[in-house]
């Protein structure tokens, strides 16, 4: 299974504009998918007998900084029977005045492992996953201010009377 075949499979199912860009330099090769379609694309890749991506290895949330005004989510999929790796990329805008927060459809109903990965992305980068069963912070306490892996993150000065900044 090579990247062109997967791309053809997806365009057959969803139309031409489902793959916005491909990146063959990246390792594993990367497809750029519109954010709203990611859950459907993942479901298609998961259930199709020709791809069968049954293993979500990693899910990364990423902030590109306030200058660019975008955030990204990267999915690393692995197909155990075909021994093939693929990564999917979606780019979303950071929160604006009209939009309270950046939102992405969850994939935790497809791979249960995405549950914790998405909670981590929510905790550290501040991406909301719509439809997630249990959107809580995972590594930081619930009343922590801000999301530490944002490029413009400022630590709070005191947390419960404990000095945070040294």
């Amino acid at each position: 299974m090579i990247l062109e075949e997967i791309q053809a499979l997806l365009t057959d199912k969803f139309g031409e504009d489902i793959v916005l860009a491909t990146d063959t330099d990246a390792s594993p090769p990367m497809l750029h998918i519109p954010a709203a379609k990611i859950a459907e694309v993942c479901m298609a890749l998961h259930t199709n007998e020709k791809t069968y991506f049954d293993y979500l290895a990693c899910l990364t949330g990423m902030d590109n900084g306030p200058e660019q005004g975008t955030m990204e989510v990267i999915y690393h999929l692995y197909s155990i029977p075909y021994n093939f790796q693929l990564s999917l990329q979606i780019i979303i805008t950071r929160e604006t005045e009209s939009q309270a927060y950046a939102e992405v459809p969850t994939v935790s109903h497809i791979w249960r492992t995405a549950d914790w990965h998405e909670r981590e992305a929510y905790d550290l980068v501040g991406i909301h996953f719509s439809g997630h069963p249990d959107q809580r912070r995972i590594l930081l306490p619930n009343d922590w201010e801000g999301h530490p892996l944002r490029k413009d993150y400022k630590e709070q000065e005191y947390y419960h009377g404990i000095k945070v900044i040294y």
Partner: protein, 405 residues
């Protein structure tokens, strides 16, 4: 006091940070919340399990982590690649060499020097990584036996682990946090006489593994406590992204050393043990421990083969420089990179995003095996007894340093 240094107690604090997911209103009658941890001898770190129990039967388990969070990813996004290496050690402090190997391999592949690493360097890397895998599995099995209630195997295995710790301390001067494998090479060559002493140690260790199987794996009490407990079916395991001995314990022959064939593993001869359900069903706690013990034998095989090559055609000479390929300035080209490797606890992945200009990664994500493996605990421990929860938690073999990163 203008600048409070100590924690100022306020009863609102606990309420604001909401320590529990379940509230008293959510519980049915007869149910209650029991906290296991934050410090419990079986958690091997700081982890709190919020357990909803009905009598002795577990209704739900909610793991609360983050007590050891030391911000690896935030550090990594502010440091050059070669300065991240000491932080990689501290993630999985029982298998630092393996983590270092994975990280160094990833950066080398990004730089495009992965093919030029001298074979002697690669063999030394695999040798120390497999020794560390042995030490890690010894801790896993030893402390697991202690969780179950047997104290002797713990002492015996810690004694044997100590020999490995001393060998590794001899190579690089540190006991647990080695910083030995560098990007593009090694910190230093093996010390003089290491190969001989390591060979003697292997000879000593082989019968000890047989003793271990007699003492632990075939022990009636151990089998009764672990067989048919915490069953993890294969489809659930794959859906949860489980890796390492836990996945192989469920019966899938997937080892990244074979599948990806990184480093010099394709040249070496070793098997992949899988859970067969010898004492109970496939994928129970006994199977997972069994896979770990069998892997010790395979690691011994690898160490022996490495020693054979290192004392044979790849022997040390005056011209050999382990740091010849260490780059002065690391500047990978602009790309995304995900590299994965087989750690003692499963797949350790590093995802890098480089901007092509600086030697600091734009984003560095560590996909740790323990973090993913731990997430399955609420699935496999529902309906068990509280005493079984400890057995299940121990069989997952978590290191909280890697769960929280």
């Amino acid at each position: 006091m203008a600048n409070p240094i100590q924690y100022q107690f306020d009863e609102q604090h606990l309420r604001k940070s909401e320590p529990n997911k379940f509230k008293a209103e959510d519980l049915k009658s007869e149910e209650m919340i029991v906290n296991v941890g934050p410090q419990h001898p079986s958690t091997h770190g700081v982890l709190r399990l919020e357990v909803i129990t009905n009598g002795e039967v577990i209704v739900d388990v909610v793991p609360h982590l983050g007590y050891l969070h030391r911000c690896f990813e935030k550090h990594a996004e502010n440091l050059p690649y070669n300065q991240i290496l000491p932080f990689v050690d501290r993630m999985d402090y029982l298998a630092s060499m393996n983590s270092e190997h994975a990280f160094a391999m990833g950066v080398e592949q990004m730089l495009g020097i992965a093919d030029q690493i001298p074979p002697r360097v690669e063999y030394i890397r695999v040798l120390v990584a497999e020794l560390n895998r042995l030490a890690s599995h010894f801790v896993a099995v030893g402390t697991y036996a202690m969780d179950i209630g047997a104290y002797t195997p713990f002492l015996w295995l810690m004694r044997d682990r100590e020999h490995i710790m001393r060998l590794l301390e001899w190579t690089c001067g540190a006991r647990m946090l080695y910083n030995y494998i560098w990007i593009g090479g090694l910190f230093y060559d093996l010390p003089l006489g290491f190969e001989e002493r390591c060979a003697a140690f292997i000879k000593y260790l082989k019968p000890k593994l047989g003793e271990l199987e007699k003492l632990v794996m075939n022990n009636k009490i151990f089998v009764e406590r672990t067989a048919n407990v915490g069953l993890l079916p294969l489809d659930v395991a794959i859906n949860y992204g489980i890796s390492g001995p836990m996945l192989r314990g469920s019966g899938l022959k997937l080892d990244l050393r074979k599948v990806d064939g990184y480093s010099i593993y394709p040249e070496l001869d070793f098997d992949i043990p899988v859970g067969e359900g010898l004492m109970g069903s496939v994928g129970d706690c006994w199977d997972r421990t069994h896979v770990r013990v069998r892997e010790c034998y395979e690691s011994l095989k690898i160490v022996e083969q490495c020693l054979e090559r290192l004392t044979g055609d790849l022997t040390r000479d005056r011209k050999f420089d382990p740091r010849a390929l260490v780059p002065k300035k690391i500047r990978p080209k602009k790309q995304d990179f995900y590299v994965r490797a087989e750690n003692p606890r499963g797949e350790l992945g590093f995802y890098f995003r480089t901007d092509g200009k600086s030697d600091i990664p734009f984003r560095c994500k560590a996909r740790s095996s323990c973090f993913v493996n731990l997430s399955v605990i609420s699935e496999i421990s529902k309906g068990c007894m509280i005493a079984d929860l400890i057995a299940i938690l121990g069989s997952i073999d978590i290191v909280l340093g890697e769960v929280d990163r």
